[in-house]
């Protein structure tokens, strides 16, 4: 079915229509493949730091997401579109925002939640309000708060599921609760405790650069998001040096992963350019507020989810007026 329509579209390459013209978006499978490639460095880094457990976690999450998606579409009698890669991206992103020591049962549960509640219930790809991977993480966080806030020190996990691994607080928690700074070098290369994919800033930047060059990613959201966090944390740092330097805030926690790969999800972020600036600024503000004055050390997940929720409003607010239209 879908292959046929694509062929048809390609045959009618020369088409003339009256305005308004909307530039056709890139085909879904192509973008998804790009995102998967862009996440390879971060995945590789996580496997390097957290060994076989990271690999198992990623595999479980991706396979579970794709399986549940296929099953859902089969049961709902919708066309089965697992091949478009969106479920794989959701699965990979979910794995990358989970703590390395999480038992695989919870990973599979989160994956099922991401696809069923996060995506298919709304009508499938393109209709979901929230980023499926993040909504699943929020669910797991609310359901199993203890497990979702237990972090491992890199390289200490030897046997899968064993309790040998050494737990350690994340750099943000160390800063917030114990005023203990983490060397920026460790944050940049990823030798710190945290979610699978968030620890290594270098790997995330490489992946994002690939997406930018390929034109698969809009730069406005990451720029405004990271920019606001940088500026505000610099301001706060000036008055309260215990709050952490702006570079520390940029490199620690899930900020880079969130800003580069989650906030830019085209389905759940605004379509207008102004809207994207607003989205990034709002998310950045929320991160700063939660990190500095909230009960939690990290706020990237909630900042993006909250901005997802107001995205329809932003779209409506920033919708360009047709030229000459009456007020």
């Amino acid at each position: 079915m879908t292959a046929e329509t694509e062929e048809l579209a390609e045959q009618r390459l020369l088409e003339i229509r009256t305005s308004p013209h909307i530039r056709s978006p890139l085909a879904t499978p192509q973008v998804m493949r790009g995102v998967l490639i862009a996440l390879i460095p971060a995945s590789a880094a996580s496997i390097y730091f957290f060994r076989i457990q990271a690999l198992l976690l990623i595999l479980t999450s991706v396979v579970a997401c794709m399986g549940v998606e296929a099953l859902c579409q089969f049961l709902l009698k919708r066309p089965i579109s697992v091949g478009d890669g969106s479920a794989a991206v959701t699965g990979l992103l979910l794995a990358l925002v989970l703590p390395p020591g999480l038992p695989l049962y919870y990973v599979a549960l989160g994956a099922a939640f991401a696809i069923i509640i996060g995506k298919q219930i709304f009508g499938g790809l393109g209709y979901n309000i929230f980023n499926p991977a993040l909504i699943a993480r929020a669910f797991l966080m609310a359901a199993f708060p203890g497990r979702l806030t237990t972090w491992l020190e890199p390289f200490t996990l030897k046997v899968v599921g064993s309790v040998d691994a050494i737990t350690k607080a994340t750099p943000l928690a160390l800063m917030k609760f114990y005023s203990e700074p983490t060397p920026l070098k460790n944050l940049f290369f990823g030798n710190v405790a945290g979610s699978l994919g968030e620890t290594c800033a270098l790997a995330l930047i490489i992946g994002a650069a690939f997406l930018l060059i390929k034109g698969y990613m809009d730069w406005r959201i990451p720029l405004s998001y990271l920019g606001i966090v940088f500026i505000l944390s610099a301001l706060i740092w000036k008055f309260a040096p215990g709050s952490g330097s702006p570079l520390f805030h940029l490199l620690s926690g899930g900020l880079l992963l969130g800003a580069l790969f989650m906030a830019t999800d085209p389905v759940t972020s605004p379509v207008t350019k102004t809207g994207r600036w607003l989205f990034g600024i709002g998310a950045g503000l929320l991160v700063i507020i939660i990190r500095n004055w909230g009960g939690l050390p990290e706020g990237v997940m909630y900042s993006i989810l909250l901005m997802n929720a107001v995205t329809p409003l932003i779209n409506r607010l920033t919708k360009p007026k047709p030229f000459g239209a009456a007020k």
Binding site: P145, G146, T149, F177, Y178, G295
Partner: protein, 195 residues
């Protein structure tokens, strides 16, 4: 006019009937409710000051609140108990604070019902017994410190830092009041002999 009278009549009758029903229920329920409350307080006092004898209790009243001075069957002071309350993470937390006779050490604490902290998290301040137990015998001549403050007198529950801190804060906040109440009320009368 007739309509007005009817309105007044109907509402008056309904009001009287309703009032009558409520009085009837109050007569039945209020003593039972008061009894439950008293029992829950007694139970909590028994847990923070184990050796006391119900028969010898002195109630010190201060600012409309009650501090219980408890004695054993020989008439020796066992300690003081006070039901304190304060904001937790979700709702108020009620704590029975037991103080040793020297007023400088905690005899024990008991988190009371209703506890509305998050199930599985904040609620652990009650369900995990070690948390309440660790307060026994702690020196409270200065405010208690809880992790991550250093040096910490007591441990916080992982994932329930805010509820744990609330407990410490409620205790720290109420000890001066208990001391003050005991000092003001002390030496006035011998242990009350309740029937």
């Amino acid at each position: 006019m007739k309509n007005n009278l009817q309105m007044i009549a109907v509402l008056t009758l309904l009001g009287v009937a309703s009032g009558g029903g409520l009085v009837f229920m109050a007569r039945y329920a209020e003593p039972l409710i008061a009894q439950h409350q008293e029992e829950s307080i007694k139970e909590a006092v028994r847990q923070v000051l184990p050796a006391f004898d119900l028969a010898r209790e002195k109630i010190i009243k201060a600012d409309g609140q009650k501090v219980y001075a408890e004695y054993d069957d020989q008439g020796n002071l066992v300690g003081y108990a006070f039901k304190a309350e304060g904001p937790g993470f979700q709702d108020k937390i009620f704590i029975m604070i037991g103080l040793a006779p020297d007023l400088e050490h905690l005899a024990g604490i008991k988190i009371m019902d209703p506890l509305k902290e998050t199930p599985g998290l904040g609620e652990k301040i009650k369900s995990e017994a070690w948390f309440q137990e660790q307060f026994r015998g702690k020196d409270v001549s200065r405010p208690l410190k809880i992790k991550p403050e250093r040096p910490a007198d007591v441990d916080a529950i992982t994932g329930a830092t805010i509820s744990s801190q609330a407990v410490t804060r409620i205790i720290n906040g109420n000890i001066p009041f208990i001391k003050e109440a005991v000092k003001r009320g002390s030496g006035s009368e011998a242990p009350e002999q309740s029937p």
